[in-house]
């Protein structure tokens, strides 16, 4: 059965067992801000985009060039998925399936989702803490070796939860790095924390100094996307992440 979401590659690319990073609009836009920073730091080029009849009829103009809003950037070693629109709830499940299959075809060795978990007293937290979720014992060991705290109990919600699920089915190691964040405000500080954990997990080195320096400006310029994402966050049952699961195992 054809999926309602497709990945369109502009041309054939070769990869060397890349790490795939997902940073779609979500809590505090943590993943989106982090993904944009990574794209900028590594000067990554657009290599593919996602299309769906269920996406809103929106294209983006950058320097006069018409672009699809949901894009994948990359080089031989790194793939970064980001978006300038929140993904409609109807496309979350098919997007997770399509992306997982595509990651497998491209020989991805590890998928890392970047997102946030809302905390009520975020305003009093100087450096947000990062928690992580693994989809296998292999990726759990990687997180423990990297010194990132692994969540043992709780709910996870949103596209990263479904990507973890789909990649489990095909035995592709995946993790989610979740920073304490504002629920409804863009949070570059949380994005910086999540990148610092990403550095440890993926063995890369991304400087967050400029991200923190431009934090206020990013907060202002990301307000519109944050406002749009608030509806999706509610649709994705994100508040359930703040609840405690029943103890059946």
């Amino acid at each position: 059965m054809a999926e309602i979401v497709e990945i369109i590659e502009d041309e054939e690319h070769r990869f060397r067992s890349p790490v795939a990073i997902e940073g779609l609009p979500d809590i505090g836009l943590v993943g989106t801000i982090a993904a944009s920073h990574i794209v900028e730091q590594f000067n990554l080029k657009e290599i593919a985009h996602l299309e769906s009849e269920e996406f809103p009829p929106i294209m983006v103009l950058h320097k006069g060039v018409l672009r699809d809003p949901v894009r994948i950037y990359g080089n031989e070693n790194l793939l970064v998925l980001t978006s300038e629109i929140p993904l409609p709830i109807a496309t979350i499940q098919p997007a997770a399936r399509v992306l997982s299959k595509w990651f497998q075809e491209k020989g991805v060795r590890l998928e890392i989702s970047l997102s946030g978990i809302p905390v009520q007293d975020r305003v009093n937290i100087q450096t947000p803490k990062v928690y992580s979720v693994a989809n296998s014992s292999e990726s759990r060991d990687l997180l423990k070796k990297s010194g990132v705290e692994v969540m043992e109990e709780g709910f996870v919600a949103g596209i990263y939860a479904l990507i973890l699920k789909e990649l489990t089915k095909i035995r592709l190691p995946a993790v989610a790095l979740l920073s304490q964040a504002f629920l409804k405000y863009p949070d570059p500080g949380a994005s910086a924390s999540v990148i610092q954990s990403l550095n440890k997990v993926a063995g890369i080195s991304i400087d967050v100094k400029t991200l923190l320096e431009k934090g206020d400006e990013i907060r202002v310029k990301a307000r519109d996307l944050m406002k749009q994402a608030q509806g999706t966050i509610s649709d994705m049952q994100k508040p359930v992440e703040q609840t405690i699961p029943i103890m059946y195992r």
Binding site: V123, N124, F182, L183, K184, Y185, P186, G215, D216, E217, R219, V220, K221, R223, D224, M226, K227
Partner: protein, 137 residues
């Protein structure tokens, strides 16, 4: 009469919500941006937070509260510029925030309390609630 007034109230509310949903978060002529706001209600209080990045201190913020509304204005410590801004396609800069909010409950403005930390303004407003002690027979 009662019925028609209720329907008109409902229509006003729907259009007000639509306006809130689709209104741009900026005003070109006033060089003013609308901040993101979150409102929550507890049993005794209405709590508002307002995201005010680029605002340096509490002295740059003015806050006016009535029983049913709140107006916040803030001056940014620098002008934020965009090139070829959206629908006007010209360079544009903004240097302030302004937002008027209708509160979900009546509050006591004299007892309002506000804090500004890490670019977030938190306003706590006690709800006006009349309580009557009911005698149990």
């Amino acid at each position: 009469m009662w019925r028609s007034r209720r329907i008109s109230d409902w229509i006003d509310e729907v259009f007000s919500d639509l306006d809130e949903e689709f209104r741009p978060l900026w005003n070109e002529s006033e060089r003013c941006l609308e901040p993101l706001v979150d409102i929550s209600t507890t049993e005794d209080e209405v709590i508002l937070t307002v995201d005010l990045p680029c605002v340096a201190s509490k002295e740059d913020i003015s806050l006016n509260v009535s029983e049913e509304s709140l107006e916040v204005k803030a001056i940014m410590h620098r002008t934020l510029k965009w090139e070829k801004w959206g629908t006007v396609q010209k360079d544009i800069g903004f240097n302030s925030f302004r937002k008027i909010l209708r509160l979900p409950e009546k509050v006591d403005p004299a007892k309002a309390n506000a804090k500004f930390r890490s670019g977030i303004l938190t306003v706590t407003l006690p709800r006006v609630r009349k309580k009557f002690n009911v005698k149990i027979e």
